[in-house]
Every structure is written in structure tokens, then in C-alpha cells.
Symmetry: C2
Subunit: 200 residues, 2 copies
């Protein structure tokens, strides 16, 4: 299982945003929509072995949406239909327990600390421009069982970085060009597909 975690610091936790202006009305949920597409969508199919957590911190109470490739339905490659799926998940009354919205999409209350606590037995890799070059990681034993953590356009906060350090996350860089989260995910999927740099 490949896991991608994307933290949306301003991302709305309510369904009250407009599909006609996702970037302007949802706290940049568009970034998370593209991350979802990059994680799952291949030509004529969905990656079954992928799992995505979207951590939404732009509301009064943080929420996390989980998408599981093995049961995910109705995901199209365009941004708007992905946003519509997330809107539906955010319309559910969320509690601290996962509740299913549509097939393969789940939601609960809770933010980044809660998620890291859940993943305490998973190897964590935090993507940051000044981390260890990913091309040097051949012998490090990274694999598809790793959870990759990506920030949004605002990066990660010092508090989140402290949590990652405590959790033993490895800080890894994809190069000096600062890329959007979805583009990082495309690269990570390809590395895992082709076993370049990161033997499984």
C-alpha cells in the first residue's frame, strides 16, 4: 500500500464552497483535488494500492478525509468531479470515528497529530526541498509501505515539523525546483512503479 498525506492548512472543513470557483472559495481545496488525482488516476483506471489522507485545517474543527483505492468509485481525472466528491464527504456529520461518504471515501474529525498517532508503525517520509536528495536513497529500504507527507502552498508549520521529527520522519527532497504537491506525487508513484531509487 502506498500512502500519501497532504495537509491543507486553509482547506475548508464544510461543503459550503463553490464548484465554480474552487481555489477562491474552499481554502485551496483545488490543491488537494489535484493531489488526489495524481495519487490514483492512471490511463483507463485507478490505482488500487494507494491510500490518501487529506488533512483539512481551515475550519473550526480539523477534519481528515481518507480515500482508499481498493474501493474508490466515481473518481474522474478532472478537478471539479473530485471536488464534488470531497464536498459530499464534508456534508456528512463527522465524528472521531471514520464514516463512509461514497465508496472508498471516509471522513472523521481530527488533524495531523491524530493521523500521525494512527500511523505510528508506518515509515514516514516528509518531502521538503532541502531534504536528502531522493536519488541517494537507493539503499535506504524505502518502499511502497511508506507514507509520504506533503504540504500545501504554505508548507508545513514548525509545530507540524516538530511532530514529524518526533515521529522519526525522514526528510527527503525531489530536487531544488519547488514543485506542487500533485507533481511530487506523480514522481513518487513513478519511482515506486519503476523501482528507481526506492527498491520495494
Amino acid at each position: 500500500m502506498r500512502t500519501f498525506i497532504v495537509v491543507g492548512h486553509k482547506a475548508t472543513t464544510t461543503p459550503n464552497f463553490s464548484l465554480e470557483d474552487i481555489p477562491g472559495t474552499s481554502g485551496r481545496l483545488d490543491i488537494l483535488c489535484r493531489a488526489v488525482t495524481a495519487s490514483f488516476v492512471i490511463s483507463h483506471g485507478i490505482r488500487k494500492d494507494v491510500c490518501v489522507y487529506l488533512v483539512l485545517l481551515g475550519g473550526e474543527t480539523a477534519k481528515t478525509i481518507l480515500l482508499r483505492g481498493e474501493s474508490l468509485r466515481h473518481l474522474n481525472p478532472d478537478e471539479r468531479t473530485t471536488a464534488a466528491l470531497l464536498k459530499k464527504a464534508l456534508a456528512l456529520t463527522a465524528t472521531a470515528e471514520w464514516a463512509m461518504s461514497t465508496s472508498g471515501i471516509f471522513v472523521r474529525t481530527g488533524g495531523f497529530a491524530e493521523l500521525l498517532a494512527d500511523l505510528k508503525d508506518t515509515k514516514l517520509v516528509y518531502l521538503r526541498e532541502d531534504g536528502t536528495d531522493i536519488r541517494g536513497l537507493e539503499a535506504s529500504g524505502l518502499s511502497g509501505e511508506t507514507a509520504f507527507i506533503l504540504g500545501d502552498h504554505t508548507g508545513m508549520t514548525p509545530e507540524e515539523e516538530a511532530l514529524l521529527e518526533q515521529a522519526g520522519a525522514k526528510v527527503v527532497s525531489l530536487g531544488s525546483t519547488s514543485l506542487h504537491a500533485d507533481h511530487c506525487i506523480v514522481l513518487l508513484n513513478w519511482f515506486l512503479d519503476t523501482n528507481v531509487f526506492m527498491p520495494v
Copy 2:
């Protein structure tokens, strides 16, 4: 200069499509929008050294849209605003000469054969799943001066493949997993950024 060419076999040549349903009303112009974003957008900026040709074959008369990073303005990372820029370009009366729509975006009539004729002095690389593995290309002298050709969800036609063969295009594969055009472009940009596989 990095050049990406994406052929949209069903893509509309008129502005008469809905921004509320791009995939359903534009002949999958959404695929080309995402290819544009993947070509140009990095965190907090636009790649100046990139040039994109979108070949639109879903109308009575083929049209080609050219986007040049050095002068491109108003491009946001979301799909809808990219589609709005293309809509504007398609509203211009196109002739066989390039005409500017908004800054950095140009349009003309003409399809794939005309474009290949224009690029007759450029090295061409055609991306196809069964091509030569890109990881074996280290010594081949591919560089940022190459034009990379990608199909849409329908692939390329036998006629287009014949044109590519005539033009001496190298057929290259990114691996056995069949990826969307925009994801291929993310990978190609990264290879060129990091000088992996393809020395510049």
C-alpha cells in the same frame, strides 16, 4: 527551450463549451488543460523555458494553440482558469498565421502535419508505452531542445504515427504503467530539471 506537444483528437476548436462541465462539453479539453499546468506551473511561479503546442482536432478545421512560458500571463494551477484562457484563444478568428490571444497564448488553423513541418529542425521524442525505456537514454543526447509528443486518451492514429516516423521521431517509454499526458509531462520536466537520464 522545452517543448511539449499534446494532440487532442476530439478537442473542440470553438469556445462553445461549458466551464461547468469541461470533460463533457469540450471533447476532453480538460486533458489538455492539465497538460498545460504540468508543463508550466511550479510552486509560486511559471517555467519560462517551456513552450506547449495543443493540437485540437475535434472541429471542422483543425487549430493549434501555442503557449510560451516566457510571456505567459494569468495562468493559475487550477483547471478551470486554464480552460477559460483556452476558451478565449478559441474565440479569436484563426487564420494560418499565429495570432495572439492573451499574453503568451497564440492560435492558428492547422493540425499535426503542419506543426511537424514547422518543427522539422527539432529533435522529436514520441512517448508511447512500448518505446525504448527512457532510463536507457543516458547517452543519446536528448536535451531540453527536444520536442516531446504526447497523445490524449485515444492515443495517436496510424497516420500520425506514420508522420512521426517520417520525421525521425524517437519512440520512448516512461514505463509499463500507462499514464495520463500531464503526468508524463511532470516526469519529463523533472528529468530535465535534475539531468537524470537525459543530460542537457
